[in-house]
């Protein structure tokens, strides 16, 4: 109950909970929430037993696509996503980091073929708990916190 008081209740929309605080603004950016007209509320630096400090986002009248959910999985694998209908949790979306991530992460290596040819990037999650991704092409490894989302 205490949790509910911290951020305003949502009638219809999506709640993204358990985001590490430092990832909040990146999540907002990749979901394009800085450019929408929907009502968005977020909480920042909330107490969390699991994460220390966590963040939460509530978006009215928006339901995430699987593609958007995957992007969140890359940045915040512990996040919980709930679809809310009439103040009730209608669906819990499962966050699953795919083994292969095509066209979401940008390779940071300027000499990588993916930055020199019109083509999709492809990364493999080599360590899902640490959030390590390896470029399928140039074989460089990026850590989750350094990931650049396309």
């Amino acid at each position: 109950m205490e949790k509910e008081l911290k951020v305003a209740a949502l009638r219809n929309g999506t709640v993204i909970d358990h985001i590490p605080s430092e990832k909040l603004f990146q999540v907002i950016t990749i979901l394009g929430l800085d450019g929408v007209t929907n009502q968005v509320t977020f909480g920042y630096n909330l107490e969390s037993k699991k994460l220390g400090k966590k963040a939460i986002i509530k978006v009215s009248d928006k339901y995430l696509s699987q593609d958007e959910v995957n992007k969140i999985a890359i940045l915040a694998p512990m996040a919980k996503i709930n679809i809310i209908k009439e103040y009730e949790v209608a669906e819990k979306m499962q966050l699953q980091l795919p083994d292969e991530i095509i066209g979401v992460i940008k390779c940071k290596n300027p000499k990588c073929i993916t930055n020199n040819e019109p083509m999709s990037t492809k990364f493999r999650a080599i360590d899902k708990t640490k959030g390590l991704f390896k470029c399928h092409y140039c074989e460089r490894i990026v850590e989750g916190e350094n990931v650049v989302i396309i």
């Binding site: 990588c112 993916t114 020199n116 040819e117 019109p118 470029c135 092409y137 074989e139 460089r140």
Partner: protein, 302 residues
């Protein structure tokens, strides 16, 4: 399609490595055979590398194959704005196998995905150069009689040296012990130290090339320390002399020690070492032809 190419040394299992090395040994005994009769091999060099190109072309020529291709980026269609994909699709219509050198990292992996014929990576920037690794392995096995349980000392630029990184990956199948000798600026990246730890491979790190640090080595793998890698030229001058291998340093090394170097060398091996029986780098380069003959024939199913 993709699985018939050689892009990265990690494409090869332990068994595959050993199988290719056996094949290479057979080619060393009998390098002139008409196995590639009627085959066309394309050598596409988007950046010049005369040494590598001559080695591949010798390998093909000695097996009776024909060669098409280019050796200089200025003659390639890429300069006219053509994508790599289009170039590779065109060439794979003409050739039975493509050998490609490209400064863009990952270019070979991508080429192997769009090509209808096998692709051999002859170097993609700082990433991979697997036939170099195969000739290194061949040289190690030939001089030591085995690949297992060897102590391999790697010296010089361990940060950017791709031959070093690939050799670590390849040797991980054979229970090695490594010693990494490099100046602080050029030490082995964390990623490869982690790789060793994960594979339970013991390693030491030193910043000095001296008698004590190479006393128990079976292989001394020298690399070039390039001036361009240093932001501080004063540091470079300091390091340059410290990392030069001289005959005197070799006096108390093990009798089976052999010195490898991917070549070209600049000044990291003194010329007085050339006549030492432990110097193996020129023979090592020659072994490249046999290793490449083995790789090419394997990819073509011959």
């Amino acid at each position: 399609m993709a699985n018939r190419s050689l892009v990265s040394i990690t494409d090869y299992s332990r068994d595959k490595i050993l199988q290719i090395l056996d094949k290479a040994a057979a080619f060393e005994k009998n390098p002139n055979q008409q196995i590639l009769n009627g085959k066309v091999v394309a050598t596409l060099f988007f950046e010049p590398s005369t040494r590598t190109r001559l080695s591949f072309e010798t390998a093909v020529n000695r097996l009776g194959g024909r060669i098409i291709g280019f050796s200089d980026a200025s003659t390639t269609s890429g300069t006219k704005g053509e994508t790599l994909k289009d170039t590779i699709i065109m060439v794979s219509n003409y050739a039975d196998l493509i050998v490609m050198r490209n400064p863009i990292e990952g270019a070979a992996r991508y080429a192997s995905e769009v090509s209808s014929v096998p692709v051999v990576n002859a170097g993609d920037g700082a990433n991979q150069h697997p036939t170099q690794t195969m000739l290194d392995l061949y040289s190690i096995k030939k001089t030591q009689g085995r690949l297992e349980n060897l102590k391999i000392c790697m010296v010089g630029d361990l940060k950017y040296g791709r031959t070093v990184h690939s050799l670590i990956q390849a040797m991980s199948h054979f229970n090695p012990t490594f010693s990494f000798i490099a100046p602080k600026e050029l030490e082995l990246p964390e990623e490869y130290k982690l790789f060793c730890k994960e594979h339970n491979i013991p390693f030491e790190e030193h910043t000095e090339l001296n008698e004590a640090n190479i006393a128990d080595a079976d292989i001394l793998y020298m690399t070039r320390v390039q001036k361009e890698r240093f932001t501080d030229l004063f540091e470079y001058e300091k390091v340059r002399n410290v990392y030069t291998l001289r005959n005197k340093l070799l006096e108390n090394t093990k009798p089976n020690l052999r010195i490898l170097h991917p070549l070209p060398r600049v000044n990291e091996i003194d010329y007085d070492v050339d006549n030492n029986e432990k110097a193996y780098y020129f023979q090592q380069a020659k072994n490249g032809v046999y290793a490449r003959q083995a790789v090419i024939c394997d990819l073509l199913g011959l």
